[in-house]
């Protein structure tokens, strides 16, 4: 089976030759491939090459098109700092404008503005180069997370309580940006879309606010992706999400990534029809050795023995300073 067939069969709940393994190798691909991370985030060829080389090196079952968690907020005009060996972050001098200004601001076009066209070009190259064998997954940031970056997390959280209608209007606007980027990635060649939405975690907002402010917009994006022919709609919310699990199918996701803080047996029980991937502790790829990783993976595989809809993965993105031997150890058990 090719990785693409293996992944497709897993989504359909059909048997596969071996367990699908899709660690979230985003920026780490550049480090593994010996390419500058900054280049991989600013040049389409470098992004595509790093993904191709890392996938070839380890043999896992997906490649990713990811521009960092601040891609969308950058496209909305926020200045970034690009460190040499780490992801870009918001300039510390950045002061969020008020909500009224933000609501009036025109939305950027993914095909023309900021670094988004670079991602679209990388998706195109990856589809051409490897897309018949390996799924290409485009990654976008969830509206709640983007809004938290634009407005400041504390400000956004207080707006949830004090001005729910106004923040909802803003989330609706951001949803259009996330959706347009997702659709452009699919159009460029991505097979599926992953929404990363770390701020929609149970550690940050309670269930009722997830239902009110996250779920409707996630559903809207995934619905558009489905209509555009996406092979998969994957939801990735890092941290604790145990209480949110029953709501995840309502987002329209057919696949979810779960972090190490979520009990997988509970997830398997509560998400019978959804493909679940996870949840090796990301930190262990940095600090522990291959035996530990192998043992953690084997434990997960045993737990998922009777479940077809399971993909071995880390609970979140592989850290940039992960050890190669640990990724190899993960692959050695599938």
């Amino acid at each position: 089976m090719t990785s693409l067939t293996r992944f497709t069969e897993t989504l359909q709940g059909s048997p596969t030759d071996r367990r699908c393994c899709m660690p979230l190798v985003f920026g780490y691909a550049a480090n593994a491939a010996g390419i500058s991370l900054k280049d991989a985030l600013t040049k389409a060829e470098a992004l595509a090459s790093s993904q191709l080389l890392a996938q070839k090196l380890f043999g896992y079952d997906a490649v990713y098109v990811y521009g960092g968690s601040v891609l969308e907020v950058e496209s909305l005009g926020a200045p970034l700092v690009f460190p040499k060996t780490d992801y870009p972050y918001l300039d510390p001098d950045y002061r969020p404008g008020n909500l009224n200004e933000r609501l009036d601001q025109p939305l950027p076009d993914p095909t023309r503005h900021s670094r988004m066209p670079i991602l679209l070009q990388a998706a195109k190259v990856l589809r051409q180069e490897i897309g018949r064998q390996v799924p290409v997954v485009g990654v976008v940031t969830g509206p709640v997370t983007v809004a938290a970056q634009v407005l400041g997390l504390e400000t956004m959280l207080l707006l949830f309580v004090e001005q729910p209608e106004r923040i909802q209007s803003y989330l609706e606007k951001i949803t259009i940006l996330s959706r347009n980027l997702a659709l452009a990635l699919l159009e460029a060649g991505a097979h599926g879309i992953m929404i990363m939405d770390p701020v929609s975690s149970q550690s940050i907002i309670p269930l009722r606010l997830f239902r009110q402010f996250s779920l409707p917009w996630l559903r809207k994006i995934f619905q558009s992706c489905r209509e555009a022919g996406a092979l998969t709609c994957c939801l990735t919310i890092t941290g604790k999400v145990g209480d949110f699990l029953p709501l995840f199918p309502d987002t329209g996701a057919d696949m979810v990534t779960l972090d190490y803080e979520v009990a997988m047996d509970r997830a398997f029980q509560q998400l019978p029809e959804t493909v679940v991937q996870g949840n090796v502790r990301p930190f262990d790829f940095v600090e522990r050795g291959p035996d530990d990783i192998r043992n953690e993976c084997l434990k997960l595989l045993r737990l998922a023995e009777n479940r077809r809809g399971y993909i071995l993965s880390a609970g979140c993105e592989l850290p940039l300073n992960s050890k190669k031997v640990n990724v190899e150890a993960m692959m050695s058990v599938v």
Binding site: L153, L158, P206
Partner: protein, 225 residues
């Protein structure tokens, strides 16, 4: 009315605890002031109001039922009570002196720009009576130690959400030892650091949450007395 031995005082403090826990800051300030106006002494009001509310949040945290937003709202209500009512009271200086908490140097380590979690920790530490020296974000390990020397701190708290900062986290205790601060405890927290064991980070304690940190500090404080 000097203590809680009246129904009015009990009902009033219960209302105050509920207002704080629900994040109703304006109501909490009014209720706290009302209790003092009724004659409840300052220390009893703080103990039965903000401190009890903090404990109820801590219990929720133990059951994994808390979230940042709730802590933020309750913390804001507590802070408003402390700033607008407690610190304005004539007995405030004596109360702080009696607590005799050491200074706590706090910051997000070099290479990390996240600071909301750290800000929540700073707020909670202040409510516990610590003098917090908040160095902000993207802080060099040396600055933690310099501040600890200058402020004669008892604790250094390091926060991070990024694995690439770990080498800098490890340096803090080493630098503190070089500066002769062998009694200063170095504590770590934040989404990434809490995945680690203390020895992996070369720190004395890794906090899983702000309440885990407060329990540790209370244990330390009891051990000293």
């Amino acid at each position: 009315m000097k203590d809680l031995n009246t129904e009015a005082a009990k009902a009033g403090t219960d209302e105050l605890v509920a207002a704080i826990a629900n994040g109703e800051n304006i109501e909490a300030v009014v209720l706290a002031q009302k209790l003092l106006d009724l004659g409840l002494d300052l220390e009893t009001m703080v103990e039965a109001g903000p401190t009890k509310a903090l404990e109820s949040l801590s219990n929720k945290c133990n059951n994994d039922e808390f979230c940042l937003l709730e802590i933020l709202l309750a913390g804001r209500a507590m802070m408003d009570v402390m700033e607008q009512v407690v610190s304005q009271h004539a007995g405030f200086a004596a109360m702080v002196e009696a607590q005799n908490r050491p200074a706590f140097v706090l910051g997000t380590i070099k290479g990390d720009m996240h600071d909301l979690g750290k800000n929540v920790v700073a707020m909670m530490l202040k409510l516990e009576g610590y003098r917090v020296i908040d160095l902000g974000k993207d802080v060099e390990p040396e600055r933690f130690v310099d501040a600890a020397v200058k402020e004669q701190a008892g604790y250094i708290g390091v926060s991070s959400l990024i694995t690439t900062t770990i080498p800098s986290v490890r340096k803090v205790k080493e630098l503190a030892a070089q500066a002769g601060l062998t009694d200063v405890k170095v504590l770590a927290g934040g989404a990434v650091l809490r995945q680690a064991e203390p020895q992996q980070l070369n720190v004395d304690f890794v906090a899983q949450s702000v309440f885990h940190l407060l329990r540790y500090l209370r244990g330390e404080s009891e051990a000293e007395t």
